[in-house]
Each structure stands twice: as C-alpha cells, then as structure tokens.
Symmetry: C2
Subunit: 314 residues, 2 copies
Amino acid sequence: MPLSFVLFLQLTKLVKQALNVPRGKLIAIGGAEDKGSPVEAGDVFKPNLNFFELGILRRIVEEAGGPHARIEVITTASTIPYEVGNNYLNAFGKIGCTNVDVMHIRTREDALREDFINRIQQCDGVMFTGGNQFRLTSIFGGTPVLKLLHNRYQKENFVIAGTSAGAMAMSKTMIYEGNVVRAHLKGEVKITTGLGFMDKVIFDSHFEKRGRFVRLAQAVASNPGSIGIGLGEDTGMLVTYGDRMEAIGSGLVIIIDGHDIMHSNIADIPEGNPMSIENLKVNFCAKGNGYIVSERKFVELMGASTTPIMTDVY
Amino acid sequence: MPLSFVLFLQLTKLVKQALNVPRGKLIAIGGAEDKGSPVEAGDVFKPNLNFFELGILRRIVEEAGGPHARIEVITTASTIPYEVGNNYLNAFGKIGCTNVDVMHIRTREDALREDFINRIQQCDGVMFTGGNQFRLTSIFGGTPVLKLLHNRYQKENFVIAGTSAGAMAMSKTMIYEGNVVRAHLKGEVKITTGLGFMDKVIFDSHFEKRGRFVRLAQAVASNPGSIGIGLGEDTGMLVTYGDRMEAIGSGLVIIIDGHDIMHSNIADIPEGNPMSIENLKVNFCAKGNGYIVSERKFVELMGASTTPIMTDVY
C-alpha cells in the first residue's frame, strides 16, 4: 500500500472521529432535596432546594446561552407533571430566566406531535425532570422527538440537562430498578436501554443519601466496559465533547471503574446470591474535579482543591 | 559484624514477629436486622434475625470450642442491656449452647470488679453486643478487663466477637460518629481510639443498608494506612493470625483500600467542604472470600464462587 494512501486512511479516520464528537453538552444532576426519603435520627442538615435552583440551574442557563436562552422543561418522567413544571418555571424565573416553557409529553403519541417537535427544534436546551426513568425510555424510545434531540446534541451547541430520573436516562445503559437493601444480590439491579446520549457510562442519582454504591457497583460489575457515575444530590456532571466531565454543585460525584476487576463471581453464581468483586477503582469528584471517560482519568481543574464552596453562589 | 551474629539478629526478629501474632480470633459482625432504620418504599425484604442467630452465632460457638464453650455476652454498648442480654441468652440457647452468661458492665468501676475479671479469665470467648461504640471505649479504655482481653486474645485460642458497635470498637482506629448525609464533607466523620484488638483497619457496620460507603471512605482517606472494612448486616469477618480475614454470613463485606490514593484534597480544604479522592480500591467479599490485611490481598477460599448460600445453615 503506498504511503500516501495509508496517510489518507488515517486522515479519514481522524476526520470521522472529529465529526462523531458531539458539539452539544449534557448536564446530569443527581436530584434535588429528596423530600420523600427518611433522614437519620438527629439529623439537622437539609439540602437547600434554593441552592439547587440558584447554583446548578444557573449553570444550565449559562451553558444554554444565558438568561435569554430558550429552555424547554420536559416533565415526562414525573407522575405530577404540572406541579413539577410549575416549580421549574418559578425556579428559572428566580434567576431571571423567563424564556422557559414546559412540555408535558405524556405518551408516545405526544412524542410525535409536530408542535413539540417544532419547539425542540427552536429551543437552546431541554431539562428532563425527575420521576421514573423507565417512563422516559418507554415513551421516547424510537420517536422523532428523541431523534431530533440526538441530532441537535450531536451537531449543535445544544444543552440536554436532566435531574434524577432525567440524568439516569441519559446513558445507553440505564438502571431502571434496584432496591439498595438487596443490591448485593445478583440479579437485583435491573438494566435496560436509556435515551443513549452517552455511551460507556451508567448514571445513578441521589447517590449518597440513598446509599446506592453497591447497586451501581453491581451494574458496573455486570457491564465492566461502562463507568459508573454516581451523582449526589445538588450535584452534577457537565459533559462536553461527549466524554469530558466536570463536577458541579455542592456534593460528590462518585466514579466506579470496573475495567481492572480481577476476580468476580457474577457470571458464576445463581441469581439471588451475593456477588464478590476484586479491585474496583473509585474516585470521588467534588466541584473543580473532572473525569475523562475515554481515558478513565481523574483530573483536577484549575483552582479546585482549596477553594471553599460558597453556600449560595458559584 | 560476624555472620553468626547477623543470623542471630534475624532469627530474634522472626521469633519476635511470631510471638506477636495473636493466637485468638476476632469475629466482627455488621449487625443484625436494623429495626430502627427505615426501609425503601415497597421493600419486602426483611433480614431474618434468626438467620443471624443460627448462622453467625453458630460460627462463633464453633470457633469458641463448640456447644459447651463458655461465652460471656458483654452488653456495655447497649442502653437496653437487660433486653439485649436476654435476647442473646435465648439465641444461644436455640442452637444448644447453654453455657452462656451476660456481663452488664455499665461503668468504669464495673470494669475493675474482680468477679467480672475472673469470669473473663475463665470463659472461652466474649460477645460484645451492639449499641454505642463510644460507650465501649470510654468505659473499657485502660481497665484491667480490657488488658485481660488483650492478653488472652494474644496468647490463647480465645474468641472476641462483636456485632455492630461491638465490631466497630475492635480496631485501634474507630469511627464514633458520622451522619451519612454529610459524610462527603470534611470533618463530618469522627474518629477516636477503639479497643485496639486489631491495627491498620477501620470497621464500619450496617454498611449497605445505612449507605455508609462515603463515611468509611472519608475515614480511610484521612487514615490511608488503614483498610476500611464495611460489614453488611448478617455478615462478618472472622480474623485469624491477626490479619487473615474470612467473610461469613449472607451479605457483603466491602473493603476500601486507600494505599494507592493519588490526588486527595482532604488535607487542603476547610472543614465542611466536599472531599475529592482519586483511586480508592474497593473489593466486595461474599461468603467464601477472604482478605489478608497486611498484604492488601483479596483471596478466594475453597469452593467459594459457585456455592449457593443456604438460607438457614452454614
């Protein structure tokens, strides 16, 4: 093969890779204050909903182009869409962002509606609320709305944000069920296909407060090619170029990397038995830390480690 | 230096090391059913108290010399010692072990009493109940009872078992407080000196159900020379030769090894800020797996990986 042809093939490959890098941004958030869950006896700490609104929401707006950005809130995951939608309108309003609207896509028929498709065509970003991630995937899977979102995320500076269920659904591999008390038993953590904006990761949400380490570890041990991204409440990962992550918010993002697992019994034991795993690698990312998924690399961003976190401003 | 003298020094060192290896056994258990804690909505799984009694308790009896072994239950950690003590008498009785008694050591004065000292001198093993581990260390620290326990554990085939608080107090470095909701914030996990039967480890209990991964990780990041041993409920580690661990029971023991931590901000950030940690190593040990602390080595014990766990017999 002549050298020039080899170079041409290499160049083609590089161009293809460059074209495949998404130009949009993902913002996966671990959820706001978890009002439904019990808190340890004697606990006086209450994560501040306003903090979530003022901090992470502000970052979403900034990434979408500033206070005049057009943002569509998608309430599909929630069973109380009107309440949730109004909460978001109020919250965005508080930070001076009024060009926001809510799309109550409740069924697969809704996901075909032209008015919704047009609105997604015209906005600068979307925000998937919390709820049940399985609602998101079963309603959006294979629809024109989802195709359009993929298209815009791939080709434009388009923001896809999601919190709780809205974050969990972002990856191709998605946890849809997994009781934490039984999460150490094989088969108790259920996986399906997510909305697929990101590959090679599995997101989990409300990570610390609901004690989901073992559940995400089971998902990773069963899918060791994927990195587990455990998002704390009021905490998120901003994803650029398809795999560069930056931790935002007040808490921790816990990364579980199963690539170097040595012994694992998960393939051999019957369902319902406790799994054993040797050599998971775990990173804790706070604000100012980052992670590059394709390189499995923890990074420190500028000025990260010693900057005190402000309680109401980023 | 003549060669014979060098050899003599080497030999002395080896003999000293051999003499330092404890001849007793530790059995650290993560607690039984956690009746006080809430369970996720829709959860139908209830760890079975009888299982704990029949499984792990049977192992304690076996290690202490069989059904006729003399076992003293020490209720010091508990605030309801008589109820707890009677529960243990019943449980040991159920598995045919009736040579058991309860020692209600409530104060430091009690820990000096000659009758208690004599009973500890004469028994085959002790069982520390759950409760508050800080009660154990503040009442036993520096007392003749503790000295005698150390002495017997070091020199004889003596069993020291402990569940929940009774397990957490076994190490030299002990967590005595740490709310899981705030555990990612520097300074929120409080450490003190335990009863000190084992060095280079930090035990935590009720590990999965109470979501304590981040809390133990903070303890490890602050004490990276120590290995974190997170004990699930109805699950324990049997320690022989001072550092060889064997997982027993129905759940998981999660090992957190901080020796290879790369970046960590814990020394630099002010208290109350979220910590970041790069490269924790984590192992999940189920029944049939083991861990050698001094070598930081996960081991598979014979027939471990594919043996289904029986629900009421070990």
